[in-house]
């Protein structure tokens, strides 16, 4: 056993740090760290910077324009980016659709879509969930019926993250209803500008607009937009989900969240002493830090097994559960650290141009909203209950 990074890995980490220092605009990092609202342009700028360096598509092989990084390198890269305050890479095109097209798409599809994802020509969103099909995704009803060289799509998707920014949506659609639900699903790429598509915002409990409903009414999609084979979409969908899940575990986010929590606890006062020195609060922080240390090692064990040819299977479910619990606990402690100043709700204060003095400490404004927003991580990407069902079945054979 060797728990240290190799000299090459350390050199890589330093290279990443150098890059971040040069290329991540300070104002953008400050926005991310301050929990401000990011605009589409912010993400686009960061994607562009990464792409210029060839570091945008870490899950893609080199020949497709990816980095070809080892799992450990991906891990290092993500951790450094989050610690520096880089915006997250919007995952839909890069980390979800990309790998699916690389594995299951046609040559034409790869040649057409992959460069466009890298260059930021197309912004993608994920059309899996429907009002009646969340955990039971395979029951989805949005229908695609063949009509000449088109599919005609009717139905509704929901919870579509950043669908209001998107040019394209990858959708699971039903192409056969006379078989087991999983066997009648296809994976379709749909241009959001096609007539018959309507996008409606869903405002979440924190008052933010991040998710949407997407309606399809007689939407004509060329058959060339089918990925892989008709009725084989479930296989591709599941392949994609393992990528999604591991990302949600979010070790890097948890670590930067914990660092932030400690800074806040050092500044917040309780009984005229920093909250960080309060035995009860300090022990709560220590508890989550212990969990995170262990989870990080679990993650590295998994990552390193993947490096040596192992395939993360049930581990991605376990990581997702633990990782999201830890992230939620950190936002909970952050909220509690603020005491009465968790209460003010000043959403306009999250905008870039807001110049009023903050209410309470300057780090307070986004905290309660983030706590509520973070409830989502145990719901999406396959809820934590569903992950437990997977572990029970796959690992324990129950």
């Amino acid at each position: 056993m060797d728990m240290n990074f190799t000299p090459e890995e350390i050199a890589f980490r330093d290279e990443v740090r150098g890059f971040l220092k040069d290329k991540l605009p300070e104002a953008l990092a400050a926005k991310v760290k301050g929990g401000k609202r990011l605009l589409k342009a912010d993400y686009e700028l960061w994607h562009k910077r990464l792409n210029e360096r060839g570091w945008l598509a870490w899950h893609w092989p080199v020949e497709q324009g990816g980095t070809g990084w080892t799992p450990i390198e991906k891990h290092i890269f993500e951790e450094e980016c989050v610690a520096a305050g880089a915006p997250r890479v919007v995952p839909f095109g890069l980390n979800m659709l990309g790998p699916v097209l690389i594995k299951f798409g046609s040559d034409e599809q790869r040649a057409h879509y992959l460069p466009r994802i890298l260059n930021g020509d197309d912004w993608w969103c994920q059309g899996y969930s429907e009002p009646g099909s969340g955990s039971d995704l395979a029951s989805l009803k949005t229908k695609a019926v063949r009509d000449g060289d088109h599919y005609v799509v009717n139905g509704q998707k929901t919870w579509t993250t950043l669908g209001h920014f998107a040019d394209w949506i990858f959708c699971l659609v039903r192409t056969d209803s006379d078989c087991k639900p999983q066997q009648g699903i296809s994976f379709l790429l749909i241009d959001m500008k096609t007539p018959g598509i309507t996008v409606r915002p869903i405002v979440t409990l924190d008052g933010e607009h991040e998710v949407n409903e997407v309606f399809f009414e007689d939407v004509r999609v060329p058959i060339g937009n089918l990925v892989g084979e008709e009725n084989k979409g479930w296989t591709y969908a599941k392949y994609l989900l393992t990528y999604e899940r591991t990302g949600i575990a979010g070790v890097a986010f948890a670590k930067s969240g914990l660092a932030h929590l400690k800074q806040v606890a050092a500044k917040q006062m309780k009984g005229r002493k920093p909250l960080a020195q309060d035995p009860l609060f300090a022990s709560r922080v220590a508890q989550v830090e212990i969990d995170l240390m262990a989870m990080e090692t679990f993650n590295l064990r998994t990552v390193s097994a993947a490096q040596h040819g192992g395939v993360p299977g049930v581990e991605s479910s376990m990581l997702k559960i633990k990782g999201t619990e830890i992230r939620q606990e950190i936002t909970d402690l952050l909220r509690r650290a603020l005491g009465p100043y968790a209460a003010p709700f000043v959403p306009e204060g999250l905008d870039e141009g807001y110049n009023e003095p903050p209410i309470g400490p300057d780090y307070a404004n986004p905290v309660a909203s983030q706590y509520f927003n973070m409830r989502k991580v145990s719901i999406y990407g396959g809820s934590n209950e569903i992950q437990k069902n997977i572990v029970a079945k796959m690992m324990l054979g129950l």
């Binding site: 969930s129 039971d136 979440t204 409990l205 309780k270 209460a343 709700f345 309660a368 509520f372 719901i379």
Partner: protein
């Protein structure tokens, strides 16, 4: 022992419940919460007419209740509709202080409070004080015939819409000494008072208040100068009881909504309620709510006891409610899945109120420590 409500309280509960059902649906509530004032004058007046404010106050000052169980009865109903009108700052905190320690002329103001015409706020906490009741640096200095106040007050509930504000200030002693605190009743528009109002996460309103050379007469003092701490503690004690009861109402609704959801939402061909793991979690919620209810009842019954008995019961209740409210808020969102995250749906607003109640008058940890300290002392 008799754990039933008296007839009067039962009638009040029923009429309030009917009123809220008819007039205070969730959409109305959200509209009101999002409005500039953050509450509805019209509904406030109607609530006053129903006797809601009077029920919180004793007969000596024109009310018809004022006991722990009165506060509990009213607040639990309000929690069921997550009412945003300023009941807590006006009827529980502000009016409570005046009824408890006010001069005759100050008590005379209560008539207008009870009728809904006069709104109060209790400006006690400060940016540095967190949940400490004695960490007060706002100063009041005596001149020949005035007091002059300087300082800052933090997250004052209803601070921006109140007509009169009760302000605590240090008139002697240092830092966080309990001795040396004095309460003043000041006009919200007095010279030198500036208020920065804002919405709160749970649909209410609050304000940061700055006092700069605010001169008030000697008749503005509430009770005895320098001896306000027990009055403050009792007022906050009533506040604790009130929000615990409010949380009970809100938890019940959140639990019922979740139950109904599990019975109707189908995945994998069956209602979610068929999954045993979710059944057990519903049961956990019910158990915790019952614990919280019992602790709140205990506190309500001890409001008139000696300090140690009363405050221990209050800290126990606030700790239990803090823990159970978090559980109910988080679990009911989780069991709803995506729909539990949406603004348009009522549940997350209940969850937000439940969460933010933990930030009022001391969170679960604060009251855990306080309970330990109180029981060691006795």
């Amino acid at each position: 022992m008799d754990f039933n409500l008296s007839d009067d309280r039962r009638m009040l509960k029923e009429s309030l419940s009917r009123f809220l059902q008819d007039r205070y649906g969730f959409e109305t509530r959200n509209e009101i919460a999002g409005s500039e004032q953050g509450f509805s004058r019209e509904l406030w007046t109607q609530m006053a007419e129903l006797g809601l404010i009077g029920a919180m106050l004793p007969e000596e000052v024109g009310g018809f209740g004022g006991e722990g169980f009165d506060v509990m009865t009213v607040m639990e109903e309000l929690g069921r509709a997550i009412v945003v009108e300023p009941v807590l700052p006006t009827a529980v905190l502000g009016a409570g202080v005046l009824a408890d320690a006010g001069s005759n002329s100050q008590k005379a103001l209560l008539e207008k409070v009870i009728s809904g015409e006069l709104l109060l706020a209790f400006a006690h906490g400060e940016p540095q004080s967190r949940y400490s009741l004695s960490d007060i640096t706002c100063q009041a200095e005596k001149t020949d015939d005035n007091w002059v106040l300087d300082g800052q007050k933090a997250v004052v509930l209803n601070g921006d819409t109140a007509d009169k504000i009760i302000v605590s200030a240090r008139t002697s002693g240092t830092d966080d000494e309990e001795d040396g605190l004095t309460l003043f009743l000041i006009d919200a528009d007095a010279r030198g008072v500036s208020r920065r109002g804002y919405a709160t996460v749970d649909g209410g309103r609050a304000a940061e208040i700055t006092l700069e050379d605010v001169a008030v007469g000697v008749d503005a003092v509430i009770g005895e100068p320098g001896k306000a701490f027990p009055v403050i503690e009792e007022a906050i004690g009533r506040g604790i009881l009130a929000v615990c009861a409010e949380a009970l109402g809100a938890m019940d609704v959140a639990k019922d909504m979740t139950l109904e959801f599990l019975q109707t939402r189908k995945q994998f061909g069956v209602p979610l309620g068929k999954f045993q793991v979710l059944q057990h979690r519903m049961v956990e919620m019910c158990l915790e709510i019952e614990q919280a209810r019992s602790a709140t009842i205990l506190a309500a019954g001890r409001m008139k006891e000696d300090r140690a008995t009363r405050e221990t019961a209050l800290s126990a209740a606030k700790n239990l409610v803090g823990r159970s409210a978090r559980l109910v808020a988080e679990e009911s969102i989780q069991m709803h899945g995506g729909i539990g995250m949406t603004w348009e749906y009522a549940l997350p607003h209940f969850a937000k109120r439940l969460t933010m109640i933990d930030h009022l008058f001391g969170d679960a940890d604060h009251h855990l420590e306080r309970f330990a300290a109180l029981s060691q002392a006795s």
